[in-house]
Every structure is written in C-alpha cells, then in structure tokens.
C-alpha cells in the first residue's frame, strides 16, 4: 500500500511513492539512492544511520515513512557547503577521525548538531553527545580531537572564540 510522501531532502522538495512501513533509512538508501547514511545495528544503538529530522539528529532506522509528510530531512550529503567540506568533515579528514568510515556519517551528523548547541565543549561533553555513535575500529580519541578542532574552527569563523585548550 504505497502512498505519495512529500518532504524536503537536503534542501530540495522531494516526492516518493513508498509504503508507510518503509524505514526512513531504507527509503533514503534503496528508494532514493542517497547512500551516505549507513545501517549498523538497526535498533537505535549505534548511530550510524543518524540524519536530521526537522532539525534534530535521530536514528533513521527507527523512523517510519508514514510519518514523513512535510518533514525536513538532512543527510550527510547535505553537510557540504557547495564544494567545500563543512569544518566538521574537514577536521575528521585532517585528524584521522575516520578509520573504516562506516560510523563516520553518523558521527559527523551528531557532532555538527552538538556543536551548534555547545560551541565550546569539554572532551567529556563531546563523549556524552557521541555516546549513541559507536566506532568499532580503534576508539574515540581521534574522533574527539576532530570534534574539538572543528569546534575551534567554527568559533574562529563565528569570530568570537579564543583558541581552545
């Protein structure tokens, strides 16, 4: 039982025919072909599928398509500003914040959202914010460093931060 669902995806008006029970994650990857968003656990534990739904980071593996009418959805594909990487992406590249890269889209989405709320975080603040994003490669040290460096860059751009320890 498909229905036409209209929403905004990465700033573009989008219309798809899909059944209500389709998961947002599958809608993005399989129906629309936007595959940056990954599936890790499928149960809301790992955060690899994090996207913004109406401005807030959520697990797209737990969202049903039936809810999406008029929604505003942003995926990792929506992070770049034109051709330029977002500072959070640039920092993950520079600091080796991505190892295998599978968790990275979710990490980027969560980190960007978190830095908008808390532009000058402690390492513990970052670890708290990223507690729902699991990396199974090596750990979180470089990820936390990348988020700190992105935070410093964003503060610099906002023209109000001093360099952060």
């Amino acid at each position: 039982m498909s229905q036409t669902i209209e929403f905004t995806l990465n700033g573009k008006a989008t219309s798809v025919d899909a059944p209500a029970h389709r998961l947002l994650l599958d809608l993005l990857r399989d129906e629309i072909g936007v595959t940056g968003t990954k599936e890790g656990c499928g149960t809301g534990d790992c955060g690899a599928c994090t996207v913004y739904l109406n401005g807030k980071p959520v697990n797209s593996c737990l969202v049903l398509t039936g809810e999406l009418g008029d929604a505003d959805i942003v995926t990792v594909e929506g992070l770049k500003d034109g051709d330029a990487y977002h500072p959070i992406q640039a920092a993950f590249i520079a600091d080796g914040g991505a190892q295998c890269g599978y968790c990275t889209p979710g990490m980027l989405m969560m980190a960007k959202s978190f830095l908008e709320e808390n532009p000058d975080p402690t390492d513990d603040d970052i670890r708290f914010a990223l507690s729902g994003n699991l990396c199974r490669c090596t750990g979180y040290v470089k990820i936390v460093e990348a988020v700190q460096d992105a935070a410093a860059e964003l503060r610099r751009r906002a023209g109000k931060g001093q360099d952060h320890e």
Partner: protein, 305 residues
C-alpha cells in the same frame, strides 16, 4: 535486520479522532509516539501491528508548562530530550531532567517521548521513579472522557497499563511542591551510557529549615518489581526524623525488603536488592546534601568506591 511488515498508517489531528480510529479498528492497533519501542518491537520481536495510529500530529499533546498553582504539566508527546534540557525542569527538578538524560542517546531522546516511556510500562523506565517521587499524576483521554490518576496506579505490570482500548495518556502532572524540595535519581547500570538500569532509585526530601527534619519523603524504585514502585516502608523510616547516615542505611535496608526483583540476564534478584539498599542510602544522603545530580563522568568512581 528484519524489516517491518506492511501496515495501515493513520495520522489523526485530534484526540477524539485518534480514539475513534482505535475503537473502530479493533484489536491489533498500536499508538505510535517516538517509535523507539514500537519500531524495535516490529523489527526485533516480530510484532506485526494491524494498524498504527501516529499521535504526533495532535498539537495539544506536546510541551511543558507551569500551571498557575506552581505545578508542572508535561504533554505526553514531549520528547525526553525536551524534558532533559527544559529550563523549567532543569531549574526545578534537576534529577527529573537527569533521569530523562539517562535514556539511550541524544538521537533516541529526540524521538522517545515521556508518555511513550510511561505507556510502554517497562519496569526499568528511567523517568518513572523520578516522576513517582514527585507524586506525578497521569491524565488519560478516551471514549468515556478524561480521567486523572496517580501515575503509580497507571502501571499494571510489565508492558501493561490500565488504559482502556482507545484511551490515550495525554499529560503527566507534577503537583506543586515545596520550594525546598530536593531530589536525586541514581541509575545503577553496567555502562555509563546506552544501557538499561540494573536498578533505579529516585528520592525527594523536604527538610525543615529549623532542625532539618524530613517534612516530606518519597522513595521510588525502578527495575525491581513488575512496575515502577514507591517504597512506603522506607519512607516511613525517615518521615519526621533527622536524616543521618544510620537512618539512610535503615531506609535503604527497608527499601530492599519492600521491592520484588527478578533474576535475569542483567543481574540476580539478590544483587538488585543489595544495590537498592546501597543506592537508596546514597540517593538520600546526596539529595540532603543538596549536591545536585552526580555527573556521569564520576559514576565509575562511585560504583567501585
């Protein structure tokens, strides 16, 4: 990972419409709030709803407001993240905000709702003990109109509430409390984050200004009985008394006798009882000291101290 099965999907815009859909549809229908329990049940536990009634298009169900009498009303569809960061909740009842922050991740809490956390009736729901320790009430709306009950009477058993078919939990009501009321919620769990509680303890106290006797005492427990519960025997130990370490220990012992835990994959019943005893004492002493919620970064120290 298993995918969800096809289902009929409704998006009513009023409570009356939602109730009517559920009554007309009959058995096999589920209300959908944040979906962090329902969708997982569909994916992991083989639940196949005949139809789903999404409550998120009903505007009256969301938001936190202060009532004229000083009470606080929290709409059932308010997300746990909204509860966690609400200036009103953080300012008045920081332990309630903290209990909301104990659930899952920020991504989960941006979806999970306080009403869903209650209506799912998991014995370990983190927000339940904090609300019970605040004497919270539940407002329900259904075909027979509205009713308000003590939240503790809303729960019937694991996954079960007293809601009638088509009846919707609409609001959680925190009655006005003494300005000096202090509280504490301790989630005792294997990991600092992203886990369920072995046990949860919430306490609230009002201490007399003159001699610091306990003018009000509430002790509520999670994950140690079929429903979140109050521990009236432990409360009686303290009421009218000056809280000492010995009395806090005695209240903890009483609470550990009053609860009725099971042994399961998370821990044994004996361990849960022991942890109720210890953490009730800790919660009481920390609340009385007015230290505010213990930050998660110091939990490891507390656990092994």
């Amino acid at each position: 990972m298993k995918r969800t099965e096809p289902l009929e999907f409704h998006q009513p815009t009023s409570l009356a419409e939602a109730t009517r859909i559920m009554l007309d549809g009959g058995p096999g229908g589920y209300f959908l709030a944040g979906g962090t329990d329902l969708v997982i049940a569909m994916k992991e536990k083989g639940l196949v709803p005949k139809y789903v009634v999404d409550l998120k298009r009903i505007p009256s169900l969301s938001g936190i407001r202060e009532e004229a009498d000083g009470g606080i009303t929290i709409g059932a569809l308010t997300t746990l993240r909204e509860v966690e960061i609400s200036p009103l909740v953080v300012g008045r009842y920081p332990f309630l905000a903290q209990s909301a922050a104990e659930v899952g991740s920020i991504q989960i809490r941006n979806r999970a709702t306080i009403g869903g956390n209650m209506a799912n009736a998991t014995p370990s729901a983190d927000v339940a003990p904090a609300l019970l320790a605040l004497d919270a009430k539940a407002r329900l709306a259904g075909a027979g109109g509205e009713r308000v009950m003590e939240l503790k009477d809303f729960f019937r058993g694991p996954g079960q509430t007293v809601a009638e078919p088509g009846e919707i939990l609409t609001e959680l009501l925190i009655p006005p409390r003494h300005p000096r009321l202090v509280g504490e919620y301790i989630k005792f769990s294997p990991r600092d984050m992203m886990d369920l509680a072995y046990i949860g303890v919430a306490v609230t106290l009002t201490l007399a200004e003159s001699d610091r006797r306990c003018e009000s005492v509430a002790i509520a427990l999670g994950a140690v009985s079929p429903t979140p519960m109050r521990a009236p025997g432990a409360e009686a130990v303290l009421l009218g008394q000056v809280l000492t370490e010995e009395l806090a220990e005695e209240a903890g012992r009483k609470a550990s006798e009053e609860c009725n835990p099971i042994s399961d994959v998370r821990s044994s019943a004996d361990y849960r009882r022991a942890m109720v005893r210890v953490n009730t004492k800790r919660a009481l002493l920390n609340a009385a000291a007015g230290n505010g919620p213990v930050p998660w970064t110091s939990r490891r120290d507390r656990r092994y101290a």
